[in-house]
């Protein structure tokens, strides 16, 4: 196997000074599609943040809070993902009047995520699901080899969300997603990492897992921790 893209050995991860994950060891290799699962507060977002810091320039990032600029159009919010590829003058001109090349690039993605009809509406006029797709669009347009998403499809129906995830897989060689839908994680990802109580309690190829194996992670009782299967 090639060398890992991301690597942690006995790492302590904190969030705002509070210890979230202790004694963490983890490797992620190119080509993997990793699902992070775990209850809220289990440390998924903290882990994603720490992973992102390892090679920020390679990662297209789709955060849980979309952080869209409400009064700007869908077009501009998506184009924001491409700001770093253009000169500031081009960006400013494009802010005043959308430029042809930027229009082509954005509407190609907008079409793929079915936002082509809302492209020039301001995003505060969009539904929650449409806003989330805008956020995905902003990540897709970054054109980076790795995609990180924190619940990127949580507000979108099952059929739509699988279409969107497949689009993400098509355009990125390595993908790490925090997901709450266990069945979906097993279906679309090649590897599942389960987090609970500040530790990785499960790490296995999804082919070897069934949904019932993952029940513990969301289970109310924390007496029956699965041993980590490396």
């Amino acid at each position: 196997m090639s060398s890992p893209l991301f690597e942690f050995t006995n790492q302590r991860l904190t969030y705002e000074g509070r210890l979230v994950l202790d004694n963490l060891s983890l490797r992620i290799y190119p080509g993997e599609r990793v699902a992070l699962i775990g209850g809220s507060g289990s440390g998924k977002s903290t882990l994603l943040k720490a992973l992102r810091e390892q090679c920020p320039d390679q990662i297209a990032w789709c955060p849980q809070q979309p952080g869209l600029v409400p009064m700007l159009s869908t077009f501009h919010n998506m184009y924001m993902g491409a700001l770093h590829r253009h000169s500031v003058f081009y960006n400013l001109a494009n802010l005043i009047k959308p430029l042809p090349a930027a229009k082509r690039a954005v509407s190609e993605i907008a079409q793929a995520i079915e936002l082509q009809h809302q492209l020039y509406s301001s995003v505060d006029r969009l539904s929650g699901g449409q806003q989330q797709r805008t956020s995905i669009g902003r990540a897709l347009i970054q054109e980076r080899p790795i995609f990180f998403g924190d619940e990127p499809v949580s507000g979108i129906d099952e059929y739509q969300s699988e279409v969107l995830l497949n689009l993400i897989f098509q355009r990125h060689s390595t993908v790490v997603l925090a997901l709450h839908d266990v069945a979906q994680a097993l279906r679309v990802c090649s590897r599942v990492i389960g987090l609970k109580d500040g530790a990785i309690i499960l790490d296995a190829p999804s082919a070897e897992l069934e949904a019932s194996d993952l029940a513990d992670i969301y289970g109310i009782s924390d007496s029956s921790l699965n041993p980590s299967r490396q």
């Binding site: 952080g67 600029v69 009064m71 501009h76 770093h84 960006n91 229009k103 020039y120």
Partner: protein, 510 residues
């Protein structure tokens, strides 16, 4: 693909803001093309150099003079704001009545310098004149702010109180008010009043320009004589007074300072009822109507002619110039504020923010009237000094507030930097708030525009000042009323715009 996107509908919440901004800027450009922007002094850079040299070598010609004028400036301001907050509070209690609102709007639409010019005629250059000139317009402003704060208070505090079958008794609603609304609004009231006190010190200083014994009197004299080193001494003393307020003007010492201020400068005037009566019943009565026990067609006709003359030669040109200059200043203020707010924003000047904000607060502290006076010495009489002075002063105020507003923005982790950050992330998010601040400030800008006429720019203040100089108080009064009407009109228009554009309309510290 692109044609497909064209066929889709566009629905943007920013459209109204964009269109409004465009029309304001377009009108301002039109005004700019009609404005008098001549620089008439032979060597503006030379004059500026002399000023800079003076600023670098401040001297104090007489410490007693300096300290007396500082004490006077402080006393007028403290007495004025104390009286204004008491009267303003009482008026705020009745703020839901249209008549009270209109009265407050009227007394604050007349600038403190105009009030001073009026009272000088009755009470001379006395301590009473200084006190009333500040207290009256500030009472109107504070009443409005207090009244709006009372309305903003969470109504559940009152509605949760047990109701009585015979509500409406004044004493009961007053005790309810003191138990609910007042404590809830108190903090904001105190914050706002203390900010207004800083403004009152500026106003008090400026009253010296029309002859009252505050620091402005000496600033005007020394600057007019080109004695820039001495002027710098007075100027730095004023800055020091304002900058150190927070250290020595403490809440529990306030009664002491207040007693001190009244003891040091008791409000009194050499006047007589006869004088007051003559001023009201004769001097300010339009000349053709004077001494007429009852009106007849002839005197009314004469009055019509008199008013028509006044309208054509003074009111109308004054109004036009005031609006023209006000519009340019408004847009220039907006541009400067957008340029300056990053100085007070954690998103742009993380480590240097304290320093950046200090610059904004310094620019805000400079009285606009004094800035305009300096500009006049440098550039000569035209609209240029007024535009610069009002733009810098107001731009710094709004820039400071907008910058503070960016504290509340939460941006995603991977935002850009520099201009990309400014134009794509921050500007769109703060623009609504920025417009709210700017429109809130519009009324103040217009009032200041009118007043700068006293310095020789042909706005309403110019004609008002001339009328006072010629002892034509009847004209002066009509012109002052015209400027009041203009301010009230613009204030209402701005409120309508804020509502139409769904702008948050709380004043904060404007």
């Amino acid at each position: 693909m692109i044609s497909a996107s064209k066929s889709s509908h566009r629905d943007s919440s920013a459209k109204a803001l964009r269109n409004t901004s465009f029309w304001f800027a377009a009108v301002a450009l039109l005004c700019l093309s009609m404005a008098d922007l001549d620089i008439s002094t032979p060597n503006p850079w030379g004059e500026l150099g002399l000023m800079a040299a003076g600023a670098l070598s401040p001297t104090v010609w007489s410490w007693p003079t300096l300290l007396t004028s500082l004490a006077n400036t402080f006393s007028f301001a403290l007495q004025g704001i104390a009286l204004a907050s008491v009267v303003g509070f009482l008026m705020a209690l009745g703020y839901r009545f249209t008549l009270v609102r209109a009265f407050c709007a009227f007394i604050r639409s007349i600038h403190e310098l105009f009030w001073a010019l009026l009272f000088i005629q009755i009470a001379g250059l006395s301590s009473l004149t200084g006190l009333l000139a500040i207290a009256i317009p500030y009472a109107g402003t504070l009443a409005k702010i207090y009244g709006e704060l009372f309305e903003e208070v969470d109504p559940s505090a009152i509605t949760n109180l047990p109701s009585h079958s015979h509500t409406g008794s004044l004493s009961r609603s007053l005790s309810r008010f003191c138990y609910t609304v007042l404590p809830l609004a108190w903090r904001s009231m105190a914050t706002y009043t203390s900010y207004r006190f800083e403004c009152a010190i500026r106003s008090s200083a400026i009253l010296g320009f029309v002859g009252l014994p505050t620091i402005g009197f000496h600033l005007e004299t020394t600057l007019s004589e080109g004695n820039y080193s001495e002027a710098a001494g007075f100027f730095y003393a004023l800055l020091l007074l304002i900058a150190t307020l927070r250290f020595w003007l403490q809440k529990r010492l306030l009664p002491l300072y207040l007693i001190g201020a009244f003891y040091y400068l008791p409000p009194q005037a050499q006047t007589s009822w006869q004088l007051v009566k003559r001023f009201i019943s004769e001097d300010i009565v339009p000349a053709p109507l004077r001494g007429q026990a009852n009106l007849n067609a002839e005197s009314l006709g004469a009055f019509g002619q008199w008013f028509n003359q006044l309208w054509q030669h003074q009111i109308w040109p004054g109004l036009v110039n005031t609006m023209l200059l006000g519009q340019i200043v408004l847009v220039f203020t907006g541009l400067l504020a957008l340029l300056l707010f990053p100085l007070n924003s954690p998103l742009f000047f993380r480590g240097w923010r304290g320093f950046g904000d200090a610059i904004l607060i310094l620019l805000r502290t400079l009285p606009e009237y004094l800035l305009a006076f300096l500009g006049l010495l440098i550039f000569g009489p035209s609209m240029v000094p007024a535009i610069l002075a009002l733009g810098i002063h107001n731009g710094a105020i709004i820039g400071h507030l907008v910058g503070r507003h960016t504290d509340e923005l939460t941006l995603r982790a991977d935002v850009g930097t520099g201009l990309n950050l400014y134009f794509y992330e921050v500007l769109p998010r703060i623009y609504r708030q920025f417009l709210a601040f700017l429109f809130y400030r519009w009324e103040v800008i217009l009032r200041e525009t009118a007043i700068l006429g006293i310095l020789g720019i042909a706005t309403l203040g110019f004609y008002i000042d001339s009328a006072f100089e010629e002892f034509r108080f009847d004209r002066a009064l009509i012109l002052i009323l015209a400027s009041a009407m203009l301010n009230i009109g613009v204030d209402n228009f701005a409120r309508w715009l804020r509502q139409r554009l769904h702008l948050k309309s709380m004043p904060e510290s404007l």
